[in-house]
Symmetry: C2
Subunit: 437 residues, 2 copies
């Protein structure tokens, strides 16, 4: 299955000059989607595509009526305050629009004149959520994260017996997911210190981030119809960077026996751009399972999944404290990891989620779970970096943390690089913590 | 706080004759909302109100323009294929429309002539979901259920230490909730027998129902704004009967450490009518906490909650097997219980859910959790009735069950009765199991 096509060609350049610079997130080979409008305007939110430091306004493109067939139908659907309808159209439409956009934005395109008015500087826009997320499910696909966290909660039994068989996931809260720039108050709640007789109530003392990818479902499935692993990727529209904020002390007290609840649902933040599965084709890689581990059950196994099921999406997380902002010092990096370490692939998540007949709707989101890498330095949460709060982390300016402070801004980025292809980026997601109410 | 008003008066009668019979679900004191259309028609779905064996078509009522002020605004909003907008208007609007409907449907009303064409026989209609459920959260408020189930999973430690402090809840799947009449295939999935070395894949062998109430949120709250217990009930639009189908063998293998997932999200079924919180006022009762138990934390405590926080909603569950249908014998009752046994009140659920700033949207649903009563015979699931599948349940026609068979239809009903007031009913929810695919 050759997933590479002309839209990935490293030699393509754009008539949008800023898209031709080296090492940027949004060259013409990327073409991610978001929903935007001009900052401080009363404009309707509508779909847009990133190109260099500009966004291509899909309202203008749809109205210009320069595309044909599926591509034109798709761009009309994407000219909306939420991309759900477009996402629900399926692979043929996504791919047709991608090709049409790639051709229209290439150097020498006949459409350059028609689209000159369709560009808005990214510095002049604000985003909304790219789609309505009906249901959000968080997975737990990093075995390094599961082991490190399990060790803190259950030192003798860090990795539960089901982990290597079941792509563990649980339902999350969709209403409190917002787009990058989210600012929220430190949550209040019940906690119980290990040595306390009774729980107490107050602001969370162990506020944390989780470095995740968000995976958007495109075309859904009818209730009762499982999605086979060979068909799973046709349902995956694209990816974003995702911060699944977590209140560790609330979680420790509340999570048994039905799982995390108030520890997770106070805020979750997505990056604004959805990088399509098609754009990520060059950065796919083989997926392997250690031969000493159980191999996946039949319903989670396919040759294609072995050959190209994994995505080498690199990610990092940075922290900008109030002091850094006051001093004008830049945010400092806390860790860096890659989604290629995931114990389960996206296709396996999709197939497992629907094997009982559960239905996806266009725009539903899966969280990858915290993407910690094999080394301690690659941990995707402060819980892991500080070894359960026992070791202080020293920041670049000398400040220390075990968990997040009020005023801290957390920034996460994602990108892909591969010999013979352009670097493309997922952009970034940021969020800031206010004091508890 | 006197919650009783003229709409609850037992002496009210309606010009819709069928509403004046004894012991029916929908006398004029009830007035629940649903979304319906004529069976096998291409009509738009729209809001309706049950009265006797009829439904009052809110499209006709809204168009007739016979109400004033808030009531007219409310009925216009409820003339829609989903009630979310109406539910989001808040208590004043709900109450104004209830009073206007009560007056218009009373014997001798000046509006009888205008509304004669607004009645459709309930036998001639079909329902859709009454609203779009953005997020669904399932609670676990029956201590009898929590103890009985806990004993099966953890014999030495049935009730976890947090149970008496935290209104335990977890996020569920909204996409697979459908309205009464839902027919679904037995789910497939991974299970692991206690004596097996590795898990196996196949149809669920321990398919179960859960007898619950569904609680619909009306007016929402902004992210970050907790809802205090004194204000909680103003956000609760109404109640339905809810079957939270469960695959016990899938659950046992998958649920640690993040909670139930595929064991729950293959199907959940609501009754079509939403009985408003206002209609339930007469059947409210005091809420007590055993003096030997921990008392609620301050944020979950109020005098009103003590005085009238509980709802004495009686519920039962019946089973109709394929054989019963073939033989023409009626469904047989499995158990009966009441929501008054709940360890936590609805107000406590709402307040706890938002204490960390989590936001509700109009139409969000809370499940009460399985409402098992104190006696074994009052258990709200087969898992409990069959003591974990160890004791066979004999049905009225001599068939036996430990869990549900293919072809079984499960029917749940809810109703309220109190001296000095009419009986009102929540109607029923039913669903039928097809063989695994």
């Amino acid at each position: 299955m050759n997933l590479i096509n002309e839209t990935h060609d490293i030699n393509l350049t754009s008539w949008v000059e800023s898209a031709n610079q080296a090492n940027i997130d949004f060259p013409i080979q990327n073409l991610p989607f978001a929903v935007f409008r001009r900052k401080n305007s009363n404009e309707e939110f509508r779909g847009g595509v990133a190109i260099g430091d500009q966004v291509l306004d899909l309202n203008v493109v749809a109205t210009a009526n320069i595309f044909n067939g599926l591509a034109q139908e798709a761009v009309v659907a994407a000219n909306a305050p939420a991309l759900n309808e477009f996402m629900g159209m399926g692979q043929e439409y996504w791919s047709a629009l991608r090709l049409a956009l790639s051709q229209a934005l290439r150097a020498g395109s006949e459409h350059q004149h028609a689209l000159a008015d369709a560009l808005v500087a990214q510095s002049d826009i604000e985003f909304s959520m790219p789609c309505h997320i009906g249901d959000y499910t968080d997975f737990y696909t990093s075995i390094y994260h599961a082991t490190a966290v399990g060790r803190l909660f259950r030192p003798d039994n860090p990795l539960l017996p089901n982990y290597k068989w079941v792509p563990i996931g649980y339902h999350g809260r969709a209403s409190s997911i917002d787009v990058s720039g989210q600012v929220f108050h430190r949550p209040n709640g019940q906690t119980k210190a290990p040595d306390a007789e009774v729980p107490s109530f107050g602001p969370c003392k162990r506020l944390d981030y989780e470095l995740e990818l968000g995976i958007y479902l495109g075309k859904g499935n009818a209730l009762g119809d499982a999605i086979s692993i060979s068909n799973a990727e046709n349902h995956v529209f694209g990816f974003c960077v995702f911060n699944d904020w977590s209140a560790r002390d609330l979680q420790a007290w509340e999570y048994q026996p039905l799982g995390p609840f108030l520890a997770k649902n106070f805020a979750s933040t997505v990056s604004p751009w959805i990088v399509t599965t098609e754009a990520l084709a060059p950065y796919r890689t083989c997926w392997t399972r250690d031969e000493n581990d159980p191999q996946p059950m039949d319903y989670l196994e396919s040759a294609h999944n072995r050959e190209a099921g994994a995505f080498d999406i690199q990610m990092d997380v940075l922290l900008e404290s109030e002091k850094m902002r006051a001093d004008g010092t830049p945010a400092c990096k806390l860790s860096e990891s890659s989604f290629k370490h995931s114990y389960w692939t996206v296709a396996q998540m999709v197939t497992h989620h629907t094997v009982n007949g559960c239905n996806f709707l266009p725009g539903d989101m899966l969280g990858s779970g915290t993407q910690s890498g094999p080394d301690h330095e690659e941990a995707g949460s402060m819980l892991e970096l500080s070894r359960g709060g026992k070791e202080s982390i020293t920041l670049a300016n000398g400040e220390t943390r075990t968990f997040l402070n009020d005023g801290d801004k957390v920034i996460m980025r994602g990108w892909c690089e591969k010999e013979g292809f352009n670097r493309i980026g997922l952009g970034f997601v940021e969020g800031t913590i206010l004091p508890a109410k």
